[in-house]
């Protein structure tokens, strides 16, 4: 066993703002992620998705996309991106950056202060004309957002997944596509976006993650300009939706001009981050369909040769589990029964102790390697927090190691099939 070593030092520099700082000298670059948290809701999803695209179109000092890009290039190719991210029923506006650790730059050069100052402007001082986003810029980003939303069909696997979630969770917030809805775009005004930005600045819960070669207090002082002026009260977030029980199995099919069929089976797993048993379910799911020694890979791909890709993913924010397989449409019936059989095997405890141990070791190795990947750990840490739990990397590794066979079987018995979605070639 290798000693574990990754943590974020947490501090609260202002109301509703949390800094998470990881002192890390291993890497040649620093990582900075900022998240403004909100609820995933139909009434706000599109403007929340649109706002981050406008932040990259100009700032007070760098008023055009061209001058912003030139600045990023000059700062040794600092990468800056903005986006929205969905975790469970939360919708985050995020700003991410990676830039060279000053210790690696030619002698005497430094980019840290310049990068933070650039990001502060990007977040707080967008380029405005007469107090509004320039009309042509706004219209153009609306068009790009429409294209982005429509482009979901270009990736057949993601499209099939999204369609399965929509069918299965038709009245739950988690069904909402994080990039928004085309129909909402026209009505969004510059004022809507600036109000939203103001809400982010003053009262949305804000998380700032940093990993780099600086001690925590130096880093916190350097990042302070990103905080801006905060109101004393922070916006509350909606309580997560209730757990659902499937009423029989829903079957949905859709045709498209494709070569390969995409099968997505949606299950209710009934366990979320806050449930201790969800850790046993994560281990069970890994043996069911995550790793190449899993039931799905070995039986559906290697033995039956029905597919090239097959796998399951557990969503512990929503209490759901999805199995995906790229198959020949003619084999859909066989694939569905074979996948159901494999789940039944897990639920009957038909797996060896050796396979269970291997799964735990593989999960542990994955967690160990995650220590080299600060961006990955930022995502994990945030997902736990948004679900009301705290992520303790070392403790989590221990919990995984201590999961018993009985706990795995018990947790996998909670898994129930809800929806079978098939995207198949047009006849």
């Amino acid at each position: 066993m290798v000693a574990s070593g990754f943590s974020f030092e947490v501090s609260n520099p202002a109301p509703g703002v949390t800094f998470h700082i990881n002192e890390n000298a291993k890497r040649k670059t620093n990582r900075l992620h900022v998240y403004w948290i909100g609820d995933l809701d139909e009434s706000t999803v599109t403007k929340r998705a649109l706002l981050p695209t406008l932040l990259t179109r100009g700032t007070r000092s760098y008023p055009t996309m061209q001058s912003m890009t030139q600045r990023e290039e000059w700062l040794y190719g600092t990468s800056v991106s903005t986006s929205v991210v969905k975790v469970g029923e939360r919708h985050m506006i995020s700003v991410r950056s990676e830039f060279v650790n000053d210790n690696y730059l030619p002698q005497g050069e430094s980019v840290l202060t310049d990068v933070v100052s650039f990001l502060r402007e990007l977040m707080h001082e967008p380029q405005l004309e007469g107090g509004a986003f320039p009309t042509d810029v706004l219209e153009q980003e609306k068009l790009n957002q429409r294209r982005l939303i429509e482009s979901l069909i270009n990736d057949k696997r993601s499209y099939a997944h999204e369609r399965c979630v929509q069918a299965m969770c038709s009245d739950e917030a988690c069904r909402i596509y994080e990039e928004g809805r085309v129909a909402d775009l026209d009505a969004i005004t510059s004022q809507d976006l600036l109000s939203l930005l103001d809400e982010c600045h003053k009262s949305a819960p804000m998380h700032v993650y940093f990993s780099g070669d600086l001690d925590a207090s130096t880093a916190a002082a350097a990042l302070q300009p990103l905080v801006g002026e905060r109101a004393t009260n922070t916006l509350g977030l909606r309580a997560p939706g209730a757990d659902r029980t499937p009423q029989g199995v829903r079957r949905v099919e859709e045709e498209m001009h494709v070569q390969q069929a995409n099968l997505v089976m949606g299950f209710r797993s009934h366990l979320r981050f806050a449930d201790d048993a969800s850790i046993a379910q994560a281990v069970g799911n890994a043996l069911f369909g995550v790793f190449p020694h899993s039931k799905l890979f070995v039986n559906v791909r290697e033995k039956a040769a029905l597919c090239y890709t097959v796998g399951s993913q557990l969503d512990r924010s929503n209490g759901t589990l999805f199995v995906h397989a790229g198959i020949d449409a003619g084999n859909a019936g066989q694939a569905v029964s074979l996948i159901e059989e494999q789940l039944a095997e897990m639920q009957a405890g038909n797996f060896t102790d050796a396979d269970l141990d291997a799964t735990k070791v593989t999960l542990d190795n994955r967690l160990l390697m995650l220590e080299d990947n600060p961006a990955g750990l930022m995502g994990v840490d945030l997902a736990w927090r948004l679900n009301g739990s705290e992520y303790d990397h070392a403790a989590y590794r221990d919990q995984i190691r201590n999961v018993s066979r009985e706990a795995v079987v018990e947790a996998m018995r909670r898994v129930e099939l809800d929806t079978v979605f098939l995207l198949k070639p047009t006849q």
Partner: protein, 434 residues
């Protein structure tokens, strides 16, 4: 046992060091120590890819094998009587994988602990493929689904279609995985023939990276190779490529697919490809910097096309070279592929007349420098690219020195050499029924 003495390759800017020893079989073996990293990674690569379908080998004479054989072989190498490598590594806590490009097949694994056991297993898998009539037939089903998956992938289809537009005869115009029809011809005999001809020490490289003991790494490699005493360099294997004219095959190719909006790629065929050593690396860096200056996000044409709603953030450029093959690619999503193609062609001409400004050049050099620091954070990147570049006689760590050696005249020379509209081919994907 290793021949001669250990070589040390070091770059002060990147603060990376690689140790090289040559195994008695002739296999070059490399190790890079990464203190403090939890991940360990190793790869075992052969200079054999999808384009190597015609070759001569001792005892076999001249061979012409089916498209997709290198990729098919990659799947079979990772198989053994008692199971699949993916499954066996996974059971021991590691993750292994393999990929086939036009020029290279690479086998790799990553792990947290147990590195030396996995390293031995990797060597055993790569040197002892398990190929039977039955498992070849089974694999045709799995790879068939892999091919179908790529057939629905517009980003992949538009690229392979561009290759077919740029090249008249060279096998780079064919899909790496072949087709469902071409792999139907494959049998155990052809797969073993390719393995014997290309998986030998003179044609391969091994690379390990992580926070492990260097001596133990080289000892483990030696002990693992000693389990295969019959493994030896094969002299006289020759790859054959058809003559490729300087001119392109098709000026425009269009494909209809189920996509939300059209996409366009503009390719420029490199008639000066085929360099080796530092010249290869320099050509690649110079071309990438040039593409960024002319078509990158900070360029005037990018801003114009973006304002005209002809491009979005997906618009990008890159240059790739595989031995005697090289090409630049420019493009992304667009409402109007024809209009964008004309604009890009026009800019290729205009750039030749305009030349390169010193300011753009300096800025792009700084940006490239930053991107190298980012890339060398990754163990996978370092190992995979070190091996691939070695096949072209390049030491990857020279990348910083080569970048510094570039002068503005290198860019202007390359502009007139490579930015030629008669070497341009375009590939578009348009929504079905439009």
């Amino acid at each position: 046992m290793y021949q001669g003495t250990e070589e040390v390759l070091h770059n002060e800017t990147l603060r990376e060091t690689v140790y090289k020893r040559t195994h008695e079989t002739g296999l070059p073996v490399y190790f890079c120590h990464k203190p403090g990293f939890q991940k360990r990674y190793a790869c075992f690569a052969t200079h054999y890819g999808s384009v190597d379908t015609a070759f001569s080998a001792p005892g076999l004479g001249r061979q012409q094998v089916a498209d997709g054989v290198a990729h098919f072989l990659e799947h079979k190498v990772f198989e053994r009587e008692d199971g699949n490598a993916l499954e066996l590594f996974s059971k021991r806590g590691a993750a292994c994988n393999a990929y086939t490009s036009y020029a290279v097949t690479n086998y790799l694994f990553s792990c947290g602990d147990g590195f030396f056991d996995h390293l031995g297993a990797l060597v055993d898998f790569v040197l002892t493929p398990y190929i039977t009539d039955e498992n070849v037939e089974k694999e045709k089903g799995i790879i068939g689904q892999e091919i179908r998956m790529y057939e629905d992938h517009a980003g992949w289809r538009i690229f392979t279609n561009l290759m077919a537009g740029l090249y008249q005869n060279h096998p780079v115009r064919n899909d790496i995985a072949g087709t469902v029809e071409s792999i139907a011809e494959l049998n155990t005999e052809s797969l073993y023939a390719c393995h014997r001809s290309f998986y030998h020490p003179g044609n391969m490289i091994a690379f390990g990276i992580g926070d492990e003991d260097r001596e133990r790494f080289f000892e483990t490699m030696d002990a693992s190779l000693a389990r295969h005493p019959e493994w030896a360099a094969v002299e006289g294997v020759e790859k054959h490529y058809p003559d490729e004219p300087a001119s392109i095959a098709d000026a425009n190719r269009v494909l209809e697919m189920e996509v939300s909006m059209p996409q366009l790629l503009v390719g420029i065929k490199d008639r000066s490809a085929g360099k080796t050593g530092r010249a290869f690396l320099k050509q690649e860096l110079v071309t990438d910097i040039l593409l960024e200056i002319v078509f990158g996000k900070a360029s005037a044409i990018y801003q114009q096309l973006y304002a005209d709603k002809l491009i979005d953030e997906s618009f990008s450029t890159h240059y790739s070279a595989y031995g005697n093959i090289g090409f630049s690619v420019i493009g992304g999503d667009t409402e109007d592929p024809e209009k964008l193609a004309n604009a890009v062609r026009g800019e290729i001409e205009a750039a030749r007349d305009r030349g390169v400004s010193a300011e753009d050049f300096e800025r792009q050099k700084r940006a490239s420098m930053g991107s190298f620091f980012r890339m060398f954070n990754s163990l996978d990147f370092t190992a995979n690219n070190f091996c691939t570049y070695r096949f072209y006689g390049v030491d990857l760590f020279d990348i910083i020195d080569v970048l510094h050696s570039i002068e503005i005249s290198d860019l202007t020379d390359r502009l007139s050499e490579h930015f030629c509209v008669d070497a341009v081919s375009t590939s578009a994907v348009i929504p079905k029924g439009q």
